[in-house]
Point group: C2
Chain length 522, copies 2
Amino acid sequence: MITKEEALLKVEPKQLDQLLHPNFDADSLKNAKVVATGLAASPGAATGRIYFTAEDVMAAKENGVQDILLVRLETSPEDIEGMNIAHGILTIRGGMTSHAAVVARGMGTCCVSGCGVLKIDEEAKVLTLPDGRELHEGDYMSLDGSTGNVYAEEVKTVEPIIEGDFDTFMGWADEARKLKVRTNADTPRDAKQARTFGAEGIGLCRTEHMFFEEERIFNFRRMITAETLEAREEALEKILPYQRDDFEQLFKAMEGYGVNIRFLDPPLHEFLPHTDEEIKPLAESLGMTFEALKARVESLKEFNPMMGHRGCRLAVTYPEIAAMQTRAVIEAAINVNKEGLSVEPEIMIPLIGDTKELKFVKNVVVETADKIIAEAGVELNYKVGTMIEIPRAALTADKIAEDAEFFSFGTNDLTQMTYGFSRDDAAKFLSDYYSKQIFESDPFAKVDQEGVGQLMKIAVEKGRQTRPDIKLGICGEHGGEASSVEFCHRLGLTYVSCSPFRVPLARLAAAQAAVKEEMGIE
Amino acid sequence: MITKEEALLKVEPKQLDQLLHPNFDADSLKNAKVVATGLAASPGAATGRIYFTAEDVMAAKENGVQDILLVRLETSPEDIEGMNIAHGILTIRGGMTSHAAVVARGMGTCCVSGCGVLKIDEEAKVLTLPDGRELHEGDYMSLDGSTGNVYAEEVKTVEPIIEGDFDTFMGWADEARKLKVRTNADTPRDAKQARTFGAEGIGLCRTEHMFFEEERIFNFRRMITAETLEAREEALEKILPYQRDDFEQLFKAMEGYGVNIRFLDPPLHEFLPHTDEEIKPLAESLGMTFEALKARVESLKEFNPMMGHRGCRLAVTYPEIAAMQTRAVIEAAINVNKEGLSVEPEIMIPLIGDTKELKFVKNVVVETADKIIAEAGVELNYKVGTMIEIPRAALTADKIAEDAEFFSFGTNDLTQMTYGFSRDDAAKFLSDYYSKQIFESDPFAKVDQEGVGQLMKIAVEKGRQTRPDIKLGICGEHGGEASSVEFCHRLGLTYVSCSPFRVPLARLAAAQAAVKEEMGIE
């Protein structure tokens, strides 16, 4: 007989990850040959016939193909529907936080990303293996998203069997842990999925993911290409009902748990096409000349988009975007609260580096929100806070906490800026860092406690100095990695947030951190 | 009668900047109309006929045109010769540390950069003003590099008149200051210029600027496109004599003062062409197929080059580059020391974020250097140190100082990473930051003492903790800005380094900082 605590420490959190996804059949795997290795971007195993576009995936499904893999150079938001159907996703380019990786983890779909040793010709629909062999549409491949291994053949998979009483075990974990566990979710589907895994709220809702459906993206593009404030506000007015409806659904899915909504983050050029062939039809539908749209696309191009016009910088230039998003959040909260929920939305301003940026954007939010609340004649509490993802924000957290009611560590960006390398480019040279033993682990997977962690510690201390009860969370990918969760526990954060399928892992990791602390285990 | 100290405090350092450059004639300026304003990238005033390419500038000079301005979307290293001839440079794109801005400051040539309200058609050779007027090749314009103002007409300039005894005054400054003043110089010409302005050594020699002449760039491109170590070393062997000769000349120009040589820093794709038209002839001369070269160019492309495969990351992947550069530095020092100098070269490894990176590259340097020194049978001291330009390097400076014999703050990059915005992209949105009073000054011009300065302070303290006598310098653009120089004095740095024409300014600013401290003036 062992104690609950001992039982909790006996299970590797990573095992839970595997427990929730299909694995390869051991016998079938024994005879299979690894032809390439990419990044283990989203766990689980998948086997199937390969297709090179999201449309081909959808067509294959309609034609009755059972096992389907999507293979692409990299995925983009237009591929969502195909990604949803595919049993596994393989990309040639992109890191652990590329579109494919993030979306696949959210869906719980197996994904191997950044498998650069494979050559892809998307037009000709040919994938060339390192040994020169060519694979074509409909050929079989198999992917292991937990190791990054890729096979050019069918490897049988088995569904996970949960032995013993999973719920009892997780119940022990929940009793033991101090950290709350939230989820990163942008859709009601992800939110519901995360609830079944025990998520206690949404730690990160990336509102930009809500703009990608056909009609929405059209109005969003109208907004970007608008040349006057009036035209921009008109386009925003069209987007408002969608956003409001999205938020209502998220609030409902979360059943009263906290929902943290991050305002628009990526650079606007990510929403516009870049080739002449794509610009032409869009110009027509927007009622612009080809030249005018092309000039707008050109003017939005950036040398280093990761360090460009994004996050709160967009809200500084276009406060009307923040105002529209505030309206959507507040009206949605008022609507669902009328139905009996008691939602207190959390509005999160991304990419703050200076307290005056936050003051400026917060002003827009508060003015808009308070007016709507007063007009509706209701009571509604809401919080305004910020991401801590820019080194300067951590260093000046005492000042930022004057206006921020909560901090959420965006450790993806914080890692990028602290190291000075971008997650999309680093994959290429980090392999040399591992082989030459300069790095022991990927700082985008495990929090770098020495450097990035030092900034987090500074931010926690300075933030609490100004606002002792400040709510502190993490919403980077690290929120679903065991050693990082333990670090967050030691820092005394309020919650970690991770993709839905990682929630059980985070619950167990948080429990282990608490048990270890109590038992004095280093 | 006033004291020397009072005299020193009476002169604005910025005035010295103007004292060394032509200014507009006051009467002529009165009637001139500002048609646009860009960034005040390099001080002085210039008037002349505009030309749209470096070649056209050179042709105009040969045809006897007296006053010449170069106008370009942005400049690149191929434009150097034309920039050298032009009396002023205007670019439509690029910030305070763009190629045009940095090179112009080094040359002491007036430059307005990033003047985005002007539209340029380089092929048609047309510049369109905000009011729609078009200027063509040979039309007159005038530029004020101290304010950023642009005029579409001739405005007479006057050469500066130095009143009083400039040398006596600067002598007082030198007596008073504690900070040494070095210069950023990559050519013997810049180095000599800086010496006449009183520079006490080179704080930053950007070795990549040495690769741009025709024959060198050819061999450098051979190195980049080499597919085997042998082919790469063969190409490096061809570059070695040039680098060695460059260093010999720099050492001689500096007359025994310290010379700090930064190893290769920018991403390799910056050295390759990107359009099919340019790739074709290069492929031919390199003996490669067009497809192979194009594939290599593609494979080197990066999403965020500023955060990509550059700095010490290149030396980790290709240690042979660091070995070649070490050989060139050490052999050059041995050669000039035989002629009676006593040079102790300083080798600076850029973009360090982790102590293990430095250990790895330092090993390559020390092994190579010690072997050459032993073979030559001479005594030669040299130092190996690092830039502090990545936030993580500042945060872990205690560990980095175990291997670094000096730190030099690269405050351009450090500002980029600490704020999380790139200097090339920020110009666009920072105008909103000024108009909305979020920022009071450009953090790329004046050190942000609160954030970036906090990291510098951490690095100074932690560095000294490990190595009390560590030599500390700054080589970012800030080394030539008065309030930043004062900040460096208060931090207790050893020296500041700035472009040649800023050296007098830095000498005075350093003196004022020392006098203020002594007199207890805040």
